[in-house]
Symmetry: C2
Subunit: 362 residues, 2 copies
């Protein structure tokens, strides 16, 4: 089992990564939370079917007042409506300020359950139990949110979990598409913060089927370590933390324009990362071997060009609505080298020009 | 003009109290906020009619992108629906992370606007411009929230404002009933934390009409000073801060049982304070002269007995749903002496017995 310690201004907490470690959940709760009066496990339909019973059995011995609330699977559940339903359930089951919320699921569950925890009676503790590779990333760092019709993650908070337990065995049942989606964030962490790790990835993982237990555990460990370092320096994204958004400015725009759920987050940011790499090469006049990186991406099954049906102007408009944008100016995360990210305002014109070149040639 | 500095773990900020100080708002914004891209003033219909234009004119010179959103007056506006509408308005006007929210109004506006600010793009700055006496209290300390059908202020956050500007002249138009409501919190601050101030109040303010400009400013200053001290020691109500809830456990129960808006907050907590004083005398076997305090309360126009139509069992049930309660045990704020509050678990039976004695005798 590996442990990464995440130290932020507001809280320091452990992330455990390992195979067969879910049994240690009751002990982890006792170690990281004060008196716990009630526990509410929030999960989604897909995950609940597989793992909820196991988790509830584990909890019931030590924590009699344990309840579960199951939300529909998919991004649409990160809604105001579902947020309200979770709050109603929590109140009706008598949760109080000494209660604990467990987020058992992927990023959607973690974000929603985390925002419920952040705002229930002005904030109660929660623990992340990620069940996807993508959530190795979202479970760490305290960003929790729900979506608004006018934008993804627009309503939220910074609320650090008391702990993260990453059970590698949960990945066994993960569809390949989901594994790939999460792998995009793993690569991102290499690209923005750990050159050596990035090269290890490209060398050791030729295709996704190479991600066996050991390599998966190592990849999660190294990826999270990059994130932990960034978050410890800038919890609330006043500056540095924005580099974690590498590939996301265009990625989010593509997700939004296609309609959420039409493309995986990982596929969208893969396109965004290739775009950001090419923009970096243009702006810094430095060869980052974006073509060879794009070739690796293709080998993993990632798309690397913008979907034909999305007009570049629409994408630019979306990019300008990004949370990083200030006064209508798009802030891009660029690379000065592999492992070295910087934040830079980029002109609309330059963004649009490169966008136009980012479609597959007919 | 007086200044109180509120120092909490997460933020230190000033509260200005004075007559004719609203003109200093643009300067205050420049002094306490970094670059401000847009400003959204949230106000309610009653307040907007009186002061919104004045405030918007003040802002427009220095901050071109200033918008206002007016909510209905009254507690019902602290709803999920209105919360969502504020977020929608903010997003549609292009507010970003460098934007500022101003809460121009009483406690409802402050709580709602504060919660919008706390969660818009994971938190943006806000400034409180209280327009009621009650809000001298709620505007300080960072408690922001909306109501849930199952309880008042159940969904919220701790989000400190960047500054509070308390314009004494705004009180001129305050109806007597509202002035009295706020005065209950002023008295509370004396009772829990400043014996000398409490005696000054009783001596200098025989009836509410004695609250002229100077006395009002002094009362707000002293009341806020008690609160600032408590909040600086315990921002997130892990312990001490709960004493600010003196009178509120029963007070909130009465408000909820009668239906919000049927009784003012101040009248409800006045009844709650007399109840808590009597309970303190019973438990500590110490004479706090609760009868003479009740007599003063009556002189100000406060009710001091529980409304006849509310069954004691129902009130107890509500008290057990209080946010301070843990594992179904009611935590009461009691006084060991005037100016000295303590927190104590109290048995349901004792609570109920005293409740039964708290109705007006036929």
């Amino acid at each position: 089992m590996d442990v990464v310690t995440i130290s932020t201004k507001s809280k320091t907490y452990p992330m455990y990564i390992g195979s067969g470690i879910i049994d240690q959940l009751p002990q982890l709760i006792k170690d990281t939370c004060k008196t716990v009066s009630n526990i509410l496990v929030i999960s989604d339909e897909t995950v609940a079917q597989r793992y909820l019973e196991q988790v509830m059995v584990l909890l019931k011995t030590d924590f009699k007042n344990s309840y579960s609330f199951v939300i529909p699977a998919g991004e649409a559940a990160k809604s105001f409506e579902m947020y309200y339903q979770c709050q109603t359930f929590a109140l009706s089951r008598g949760l109080d300020r000494s209660s604990l919320i467990l987020a058992l699921g992927g990023g959607v569950v973690g974000d929603l359950a985390g925002f419920v925890a952040a705002t229930f009676m002005r904030g109660i503790p929660f623990i992340q139990l990620p069940t996807t590779l993508l959530a190795h990333d979202s479970a760490v760092g305290g960003k929790v949110a729900i979506n608004h019709d006018l934008g993804k993650n627009m309503i939220g908070a910074f609320h650090q979990p008391n702990a993260v337990l990453y059970e590698i065995d949960f990945m066994k049942t993960l569809p390949l598409k989901e594994l790939r989606s999460g792998f995009a964030e793993v690569i991102k962490h290499g690209l923005i913060g750990d050159r050596e790790f990035y090269h290890w990835l490209i060398r050791e993982v030729k295709t996704l089927s190479d991600l066996n237990k050991e390599k998966l555990q190592y990849a999660v460990l190294k990826g999270v370590s990059v994130k932990a370092k960034v978050v410890s320096e800038d919890e609330q994204e006043k500056g540095l933390r924005a580099i974690l958004n590498f590939g996301h400015t265009l990625g989010h725009a593509i997700e939004a324009e296609l309609g959420y759920g039409e493309i995986t987050h990982g596929d969208a940011i893969a396109i965004g990362m290739i775009y950001a790499l090419r923009l970096s090469e243009e702006i810094f006049n430095f060869d980052l071997s974006s073509s060879s990186i794009a070739a690796s991406f293709k080998r993993f099954g990632f798309p690397v060009t913008v979907p034909q049906e999305l007009p570049p102007e629409k994408l630019l408009q979306r990019m300008k609505m990004d949370k990083k944008a200030t006064s209508g100016k798009v802030k891009m995360i660029l690379l000065k080298d592999i492992g070295k990210a910087v934040i830079k305002d980029v002109d609309d014109k330059q963004l649009l020009l490169l966008l136009e070149k980012s479609y597959e040639k007919a």
